[in-house]
Point group: C2
Chain length 270, copies 2
Amino acid sequence: MAETVPAPAAPRRAGPPPARDAPTSGSARAGPPLPRTRVALLDIDICGPSIPKMMGLEGEQVHQSGSGWSPVYVEENLGVMSVGFLLSSPDDAVIWRGPKKNGLIKQFLRDVDWGEIDYLIVDTPPGTSDEHLSIVQYLSAARIDGAVIITTPQEVSLQDVRKEINFCRKVKLPIIGVVENMSGFICPKCKNESQIFPPTTGGAEKMCQNLNISLLGKVPLDPQIGKSCDKGQSFLSEVPESPATASYRSIIQRIQEYCDLQHFQEEKII
Amino acid sequence: MAETVPAPAAPRRAGPPPARDAPTSGSARAGPPLPRTRVALLDIDICGPSIPKMMGLEGEQVHQSGSGWSPVYVEENLGVMSVGFLLSSPDDAVIWRGPKKNGLIKQFLRDVDWGEIDYLIVDTPPGTSDEHLSIVQYLSAARIDGAVIITTPQEVSLQDVRKEINFCRKVKLPIIGVVENMSGFICPKCKNESQIFPPTTGGAEKMCQNLNISLLGKVPLDPQIGKSCDKGQSFLSEVPESPATASYRSIIQRIQEYCDLQHFQEEKII
């Protein structure tokens, strides 16, 4: 799963709620992660779908078969679905009000034939509106493991994120944890670290302490992240020695551990 | 007006469409800007209202009078309205689908007594959905001067911004221009400049050339911007010597000139 969490380019990007596909989740339960974990990535940012570009899939189209819409595959074990695959040009605007967006999200969940998967990762736009309410509602029968919420260190971002945390609590969506993105920048010339988005109120760390939520990790700024996203390449493969890569890997591991523990406890109860 | 354009903290934040309040716009027409230009700032990011915090107005409430809702004033000539003033806590989530958001936007436009104003600046969330369609529709009778669109230099952001430009063209909203935010960072220690969000496809400059749109300016990263936003202080007053301040001032001047020219031409036609 290491290559599947895209580097979020935007602060305040609401986190993807990873959901296990109920009938097939057994294979990834407990123990060390499988070498070929099967991951589905669903982009429900209908008006700003960046996933096709960031995953190197621009220009790809969705194919229809007897069993539904086929995802577009980055690799054999990583399928992607996004409204971006339905547009004739990547610059086309999707000028839709809520109900139409909700309809497409429902179609993505109902009509896409993901095959056997271990994880379904949903990337949402920022906010607490149609997309968020719809995905939680439509997936209520499946058990959603929880939400990963992305912030940047400033209070202006944390304020929005606290709203998203309140949203999760109101709709009873568990919170896996918070990731602090754009967390410091080391000058490539003199190695001095600058807090470009200063954590004036203690950043995600303090917020997580106050709200009793896990801080999954902090990802420092690295110009190579933006470059990899623009080129549709995996930052983790391209720049394996970056401190940001180490941070991403640790965050992924913590998410996997959270999910494994949840499923282990569930199995014990059943 | 210099202090009224908030430093956008998020990339991909769709730009505020400045609209002149039709019956009162005459006083600012043509000639040099008035020393006390009267500005109204309307925040229609219903699920993520950051304006109250950034303008130092957190905890303020909206008052109702016989003539409608009163804006909250930063200074005598700068009134603000935001859903943030209607919440009991700044962390409260507004979990609303499109129609409820549209209803509040309509109410803001209908029920707020702005008094005599020269400019109405509307801050929108990113995207091309309910908020954007509603504000353009509800203001169709007033003449909107145009939209200011904010981007960051990477292609992933520019792709979203091209969608917003297409949106403006489809709904016949003039585009005043594009601002490139987070455009380079100068290390405070060694003065080396880093492109933290690299313009892999030429940044906003190339996009504006290709699409025949004005580039209003580039705002470099400055940690003081985030600090000022978090403290609710005017960055332009707090850090007058920053290159970002010079950039903001130049952008403001270009927007004023655009609006003045438009109104001058209109008067000639009438």
